[in-house]
């Protein structure tokens, strides 16, 4: 069954405390090549049937209303992935 993947990231100007904690931990494990980390969210919406334009539009609307908060987050990607 096809899935729609929605990726949500904290807005660039918003401090991402989780990303900051991760970037602090990386060098302690020997990963020294990374200067910044930002942590986002990935949602996978399973569709029973075909992904029509209407279904995709619904996914985009859900991404903007429920899956993300536009005050602090951006929807950076909405794409269809076949199972």
């Amino acid at each position: 069954m096809p899935r729609i993947v929605v990726d949500v990231m904290p807005k660039p100007e918003i401090l991402d405390p989780q990303g900051k904690a991760i970037v602090g931990a990386l060098p302690r494990l020997g990963f020294t090549s990374f200067s910044a980390v930002r942590q986002g969210k990935r949602f996978e919406l399973t569709v029973d049937g075909e992904v029509t334009d209407a279904v995709l539009a619904q996914a985009r609307e859900a991404a903007e209303t429920l899956l993300s908060n536009p005050v602090i987050e951006d929807v950076v990607n909405v794409e269809v992935v076949e199972a």
Binding site: L15, P17, Q18, L66, N69, I72
Partner: protein
């Protein structure tokens, strides 16, 4: 809602400027419970200590009944899944609360902690809360300054008064863009600021804000945990204030309700 007998009832009675107590018990203040709400009992108790009648509301209710005000208490509605308050915001009763708060009747609404997060997710209040800058859950007694005593929930305080109430949260860092922050300041809608120590990295030390009309107030710290002598911040570590600094929220809204009913 079953409650234990009140302790320290006499000592917790509102001080100067308190409304005619015989009229108060008729005032009904709803306290909404979501799956994962923790502080509904304490909020109902605070309502009763202030002299009003608490009314238990369930998130799936479709009517607010005849309540005169609503408290959205703290906790972890829906386990804070997705974002704190994000799922609770779409509960059936929240639609009624949003409509009533924006109506001409201007239903007084107080959001505490998770309730504040629900109010920002509902767009009744601007901005949002993200994880504390130090990433830890924090529980402490916190001094706040009352920056605006003209809201429905703060009129029993003096402008600039410092109060001490418990603070306990993980996602307490208030953020908004600079334009929104400037507008909040210019319109006097920063209602509470952290004093002495910013416990979570909140922009401009903001602990609580209001909407334009002042009927909707949200804050991260917990006034409902500072309403009874012997059970408040002063008893624990004596950092100032009194055990009952939080009671003013509830007596303020009662004054407003009783005053409007005259």
């Amino acid at each position: 809602m079953t409650e234990l007998p009140l302790i320290g009832e006499a000592a917790a009675a509102p001080s100067a400027g308190s409304p005619d107590t015989s009229r108060l018990a008729g005032a009904k203040i709803g306290v909404i419970t979501f799956p994962g709400t923790l502080d509904d009992r304490d909020a109902a108790r605070a309502v009763r200590l202030a002299g009003a009648t608490p009314v238990a509301l369930w998130h799936a209710d479709t009517s607010l009944g005849d309540v005169d005000a609503v408290v959205i208490p703290g906790g972890f509605s829906y386990g804070d899944y997705l974002r704190a308050g994000a799922i609770a915001r779409f509960a059936p009763l929240m639609s009624r609360i949003i409509d009533a708060a924006n109506s001409d009747a201007k239903l007084p609404v107080l959001g505490i902690c998770n309730g504040f997060q629900i109010l920002t997710e509902s767009h009744l209040l601007p901005g949002s809360m993200i994880k504390n800058d130090h990433l830890k859950f924090m529980c402490r007694d916190q001094v706040l300054r009352v920056e605006n005593n003209n809201t429905h929930w703060t009129s029993d305080y003096a402008a600039g008064q410092e109060i001490t109430v418990p603070l306990k949260n993980q996602d307490g860092q208030y953020i908004a863009d600079e334009k929104t922050l400037d507008a909040l300041e210019a319109e006097g809608r920063v209602v509470f600021r952290y004093v002495g120590f910013n416990p979570n990295g909140s922009r401009r030390d903001i602990a609580g804000i209001s909407n334009t009309a002042g009927n909707v107030v949200g804050l991260m710290p917990h006034p409902e945990h500072a309403v009874e002598v012997g059970y408040g911040p002063e008893s624990l570590d004596g950092i100032g204030g009194s055990d009952t600094d939080g009671l003013g929220f509830f007596t303020s809204v009662l004054n407003k309700i009783v005053g409007d009913a005259k």
